[in-house]
């Protein structure tokens, strides 16, 4: 049940330096949540497009604003990170790459691929 113990807890997240693999892991979860919200917003964008020129005009105006572009950028960054790290997860599911050195190397490759894919997508789009 919920935590009822009011005694102080030994600090962990505030003191321990998280390894790269740990940071990438929680980032995978966080980007997953962001993407779930993002896909919902994507559906709303499609709805605005389907409903005709007027509804599309307001949606397009929002997407062209600085806030809209920020949302889109955040979405693409999360999308590519979750995609690349997801593939890293699938390799683990096959039993490959569990050695810490391999996992860290793959993690760095994932970070690189994320930025490359995001940049390529935005260059193509603009």
């Amino acid at each position: 049940m919920s935590w009822n113990d009011k005694r102080p807890m030994s600090p962990h997240l505030q003191v321990y330096k998280l390894p790269l693999t740990a940071k990438l892991s929680i980032l995978h979860r966080a980007t997953g949540v962001v993407l779930f919200i993002g896909v919902i917003l994507l559906v709303l964008v499609l709805l605005a497009a389907a409903n005709g020129p007027q509804s599309w005009a307001s949606m397009h105006a929002f997407l062209s604003s600085w806030l809209g572009k920020l949302v889109l950028f955040g979405f693409t960054l999360s999308l590519y990170y979750h995609l690349c790290n997801g593939i890293r997860h699938l390799f683990w599911d096959m039993g490959k790459g569990f050695d810490l050195n391999d996992a860290e190397k793959a993690g760095k490759f994932v970070i690189l691929a994320t930025f490359l894919l995001t940049i390529v997508t935005w260059l193509v789009a603009l």
Binding site: V33, L44, L46, A49, P53, Y80, T121
Partner: protein
């Protein structure tokens, strides 16, 4: 009669305690949707980016092609399914007590399925409409 490999007490069995019987299926489905999403996301990310501009007409004509329309439909359905399952895992990890956790999971599933239906409707309207 309790099968040989069920070591739970009768009360535990009645309360439904212990490991979930569909854990394997859940895990498989998560991985399978993940694999399916790799080509779908790459197609979507690069496809939308390469449209000259995003207007109602450009989107509608892009979705007229059966391949694009079906890829879009599959993307929406499969990503929401994958996402609902992911959110369930997150809620199971962080939300206590039971009723609040159940509410969170059900709300995200209702929202997910609603968005799935809305997404399918919108894509079909764009693809098949005038």
């Amino acid at each position: 009669m309790k099968p040989v490999n069920d070591f739970r007490s009768p009360l535990a069995r009645a309360k439904g305690l212990g490991t979930s019987p569909d854990a394997t299926r859940f895990s498989w489905l998560q991985k399978i949707t993940a694999i399916a999403l790799v080509p779908l996301v790459l197609w979507f990310g690069l496809g939308v980016a390469s449209l000259p501009e995003i207007t109602h007409d450009v989107l509608a004509s892009w979705l007229k092609s059966p391949f694009n329309a079906v890829m879009a439909l599959l993307l929406i359905v499969i990503s929401l399914k994958h996402g609902m399952m992911g959110m369930q895992v997150i809620f199971e990890d962080y939300v206590h007590p039971y009723r609040r956790r159940l509410a969170a999971i059900l709300i995200s599933k209702f929202l997910g399925y609603f968005m799935m239906a809305l997404g399918v409707y919108s894509i079909l309207r764009l693809s098949l409409g005038s």
